[in-house]
Symmetry: C2
Subunit: 209 residues, 2 copies
DNA sequence: CCGGATCCGGGTTGATACTG
DNA sequence: CAGTATCAACCCGGATCCGG
């Protein structure tokens, strides 16, 4: 990106991370940890492969991304955030928080389940922190994600749970509305969400005030 | 801007404010309040006039900016942030905070004194909150700015002070280093900073922790 | 002077094909 | 798997012009 040429920390930051796709690459690496080139492409639907290669190179030069050649038996290239890259999480949070108001209709937007990680961990909490922890599994289109209550907070990671208290299957919009509490289990079922297991466990994951 | 087409609040936010210049226009309006087109141009050195007009129109459509025709005797167009636009300040703060580490050399970057407003208000405080408040005037190139201690915090606005406790004149880099405390008055003078008035008042404005 | 609109050249991005 | 190469489309920057 062409520099703004201003002696201002905001402008300097935008010189480095203001390019198209850059912050979404940071999102991918923050949500999934060290990732292969191909996995990044999968998490960035619509990106051109040369664009991803260019951005990764620039971000490496700017000390945001680190490239590691994993030794056998993995034998692949892994991209991960540097410490300086991790420090961008407050930026992701602020932008993501502001963008919540824009999440009106799903349309035909792309969707990956693990994109829920930071929204849920930041904006949701355990509604009954005194009770024994619960585990949910969400199946919303691509790979499943696990949602757990831990010390009153919510933790999210990709993968399946061994013994989930409940499993939610359906469109992301509907599952999210169910977790938000803006619709109940009955209404969610009417929209096509499958709720298996303990419906009470679902109500444990709720927005912070 | 072309949409990323992702059902993710970060991507949605970037759809709206990810364009070049957009966040800098927000900075201008946040730091100076309602502004005329020409003043915005002055605060955004390097912007093409059609670009500013385009961005303002898009930002108006996206409910970030409001355009008002001020009645006589002002009789000009004023641009200001909507409530939704004001809600972008956490984004400016997060990005600006991250960019501080990039503020190494001034080079021939452009500079406006009021760009100090948010950095100083956020990152600095009154080192002796119990003492009577002090007022500084900074003259660093373009218009002067007033720095005041208020209830232990620091407030900044454009303009001149009537009875400043001290006046600092010099290059922005040097004045900032003096306020940060990384150089003392003696060293600042050696670099060409003029310190008039009470040097003790200068030491009242210091980085938090 | 204020608030733009128009035009054009160049740089950035997107889509697809191809490769070690 | 991890990219390069190519080319078209679009966005941006710079200059100029224009109606109040």
């Amino acid at each position: 990106m062409r520099s703004y040429g201003q002696y201002c920390s905001l402008a300097r930051a935008l010189d480095v991370i203001g390019d198209r796709w850059t912050l979404l690459i940071v999102r991918e690496l923050a949500a999934r940890g060290p990732s292969r080139y191909t996995d990044l492409r999968h998490g960035l639907p619509g990106i051109a492969t040369n664009m991803l290669a260019d951005r990764l190179r620039e971000m490496e030069e700017n000390d945001i991304v680190r490239r590691e050649e994993a030794p056998p038996p993995i034998a692949t290239t892994l991209f991960s955030l540097t410490e300086r890259g991790e420090e961008l999480t407050p930026v992701l949070f602020a932008l993501g928080r502001w963008g919540v108001a824009l999440m009106d209709e799903r349309g035909d937007d792309e969707w990956r389940g693990y994109w829920l990680k930071y929204p849920l961990e930041q904006l949701f909490a355990d509604a009954a922190p005194g009770e024994p922890p619960v585990t949910l599994e969400l199946r919303t289109g691509d790979g499943p994600v696990v949602v757990e209550t831990v010390d009153g907070a919510v933790r999210v990671h990709s993968g399946s749970a061994e013994q989930p208290d409940a499993v939610l299957t359906g469109d992301p919009e509907d599952v999210i509305e169910l977790l938000k509490g803006s619709i109940d289990v009955r209404a969610a079922r009417r929209r096509g969400v499958q709720v298996e297991g303990d419906a009470k466990a679902v109500a444990r994951v709720r927005p912070r005030i």
